[in-house]
């Protein structure tokens, strides 16, 4: 699923997930995480995978930790009494959207305890169990008294206008709504609020109301949210667009580990696939789907990338005699089957395919695996120019040398968990490295990027 809204992940906050006890990371477009084994690099990347499992993927029974076997394995020091807290800050279509969610396995059942959503510090929505609280900031309401009144007047024609439940400014400053029982099956706030709502707008504000439309999901109180226009635009969208954007953004996280070569080289039944799996086991189906959709072509980004790195090689999705999909390689025109395809070619295909899917976040664990220097340079350049938020982890000195000091996060494991630190004074360090004729990677390995140069 490709998100049509512009969603940029700006910050991640994590409490109690694996070795990440208390972490707040401001993200740029391109982020390189370096550190020794077991420092927590992969845990940081897996946090996004867990969040996607927990918030978007429809799994029953609801056990989003199952790929790590148990909650014990994903919570800080195995302390199951602790909740896992995740916070994400996005820019969605010009809005600053902050979403925080608390997971717990209290009572032996994994569930979401609490969720909070803030839009531009003007609109606050919180859900705890079946209780939904909606609040608009006092400053926002005070600053827009007339427009708010006009919007409320406009809703009089809405079905709840016939009831006695008139919306007042007091309601906007703090309302509580008890959601019906069947909402308790829903697992996340963005989805909870993706319910039929009527919207209208006046000047630079919109008002969206969930109404008692006689549906089985009957709500006792109306849910009303007023949204100001974002800084960048004149007209505000209905609030559901933002909820949808948030949900799509999380759904569009792609987290890649090294491709599972045995699986990716094995033909499988054709399926329409649009979400690349973590170990690229469905890569051939994704390529096959594109190939069919584009009339026998693979995306230009992939075709050109392969031509540059492997000038004599072409690849095409193909079918076995029993109708299974696999990738065929042509080396100077000679047909070769998957066992003859280099692992590095699969790795490049995987990363380029992930970029082509336009994710809201692309996290690649140990980017350097299977890639020679030029291929690594090409893949890094493609990631930097991909217009998505990219996180790569690496042990590779080559990658550390390829990127700017400003792109680096140094990961360390402390008694208080994993910490990610940026280089505090890159300009000064560059001068020092120049004077000493030491490379960035050497300074990382031998201690030049020491604590005195880092900031949390």
């Amino acid at each position: 699923m490709v998100n049509t809204l512009k969603c940029v992940l700006k910050e991640a906050r994590i409490n109690n997930f694996k070795s990440l006890k208390d972490l707040r990371v401001s993200l740029d477009r391109f982020n390189v995480i370096v550190g020794r084994n077991a420092s927590g690099k992969t845990n940081f990347v897996e946090f996004f995978r867990f969040l996607k499992n927990a918030l978007v993927e429809e799994r029953r029974p609801y056990m989003p930790y199952i790929e790590w076997w148990s909650y014990h394995n994903i919570v800080w020091e195995g302390k199951e009494q602790l909740p896992i807290v995740a916070g994400l800050k996005f820019e969605i279509d010009g809005y600053d959207v902050d979403y925080e969610v608390v997971f717990s396995i209290a009572g032996g059942i994994f569930s979401i305890l609490d969720e909070q959503l803030t839009i531009d510090r003007s609109v606050f929505v919180e859900r705890r169990g079946q209780l939904l609280k909606i609040r608009h900031s006092e400053e926002f309401i005070k600053a827009n008294v007339q427009k708010v009144q006009k919007l409320l007047d406009l809703t009089r024609g809405f079905p709840f206008g016939d009831t006695k439940k008139r919306i007042t400014k007091d309601y906007l400053l703090g309302a509580q709504v008890r959601l019906p029982t069947d909402f308790s099956n829903l697992i996340d706030l963005p989805r909870t609020l993706l319910i039929p709502m009527l919207s209208t707008s006046y000047r630079d504000m919109s008002i969206s109301c969930m109404l008692d439309l006689g549906s089985p999901r009957k709500v006792e109180e109306p849910i009303v949210i007023i949204l100001p226009a974002p800084k960048t635009k004149k007209a505000p969208p209905p609030v559901m667009t933002i909820f949808d954007g948030l949900r799509s953004a999380i759904n569009n996280f792609i987290v890649l580990k090294h491709p599972s070569m045995k699986e990716v080289k094995s033909p499988s039944a054709p399926r329409k696939e649009e979400v690349l799996s973590e170990d690229a086991t469905n890569l051939h189906n994704i390529l096959f789907y594109w190939f069919q959709k584009e009339g026998g072509k693979i995306p230009e980004r992939i075709e050109r990338g392969l031509t540059k790195l492997f000038p004599n090689i072409q690849i095409r999705p193909s079918l076995t005699s029993d109708g299974k999909v696999f990738i065929k390689m042509y080396d100077k025109g000679i047909e070769l089957d998957p066992p003859c395809i280099p692992d590095g070619l699969y790795k490049i295909l995987t990363v380029l395919a992930a970029i082509e899917l336009k994710p809201s976040l692309l996290a690649v664990d140990e980017i350097e695996n299977s890639l020679y220097a030029e291929a690594l340079e090409y893949v890094i350049d493609e990631l930097k120019n991909s217009e998505t938020t990219v996180i790569v982890t690496t042990h590779s000195p080559l990658v550390v040398d390829m990127v700017k000091l400003e792109d680096l996060f140094i990961v360390e494991r402390t008694a208080e968990g994993t910490v990610l630190k940026k280089i505090e004074n890159p300009e000064e360090i560059r001068e020092k490295l120049k004077e000493l004729k030491i490379t960035q990677s050497e300074s990382w390995i031998y201690g030049g990027l020491s604590e005195r140069h880092q900031k949390s």
């Binding site: 230009e300 980004r301 050109r304 340079e377 350049d381 493609e382 390829m402 120049k434 490379t439």
Partner: protein
């Protein structure tokens, strides 16, 4: 050896040099290759130039760097600070005001009021990986008449001695 800022530039400059040779803008004896460097203030550049000079036997270097809106002179100084002293006479630097896509914009008569690659993306769906496909479309004569950085680029290539 042309040393440029990203892998897209490698294909672009190698193809461009071949075209310039074929069309007689630079001497046919030049054997031009390209490599990527890791930014104007990266100590890796010293080692890269040494390796290319002493191990791969290249006798002339042209570093093409992007100023990305910064002072071109400052970027040039940074780069030259990383060129080994004994090889400074064999090394030239061309700093582009933004990036190499400004040549494409100039050629198409597009006014540059933003990053050229972004302008091209908005106008014609440009992506960096398509850069080398523009070599064949460039009007070299037009660029030579008025595009300062392109003229500097050709002038530097003409300084390259015959082996």
């Amino acid at each position: 050896m042309i040393i440029c800022e990203d892998r897209y530039g490698v294909g672009f400059f190698e193809q461009l040099a071949n075209r310039l040779k074929n069309e007689g803008f630079i001497p046919g004896y030049l054997n031009v290759k390209a490599a990527r460097f890791y930014g104007p203030c990266n100590t890796k550049l010293d080692r890269q130039i040494k390796a290319l000079a002493y191990l791969s036997c290249f006798n002339f270097f042209l570093v093409v760097a992007d100023a990305d809106g910064e002072s071109q002179q400052r970027v040039k100084e940074r780069i030259e600070g990383h060129v080994p002293k004994e090889l400074r006479n064999s090394c030239n630097t061309v700093v582009l005001r933004h990036e190499v896509e400004e040549w494409i914009c100039y050629d198409k008569g597009i006014q540059i009021d933003d990053k050229p690659s972004i302008i091209l993306k908005e106008k014609e769906g440009y992506e960096k990986y398509k850069l080398d496909s523009y070599v064949a479309k460039l009007d070299i004569n037009r660029l030579r008449k008025g595009c300062v950085s392109f003229c500097d680029f050709i002038e530097c290539l003409l300084k390259c001695p015959e082996c």
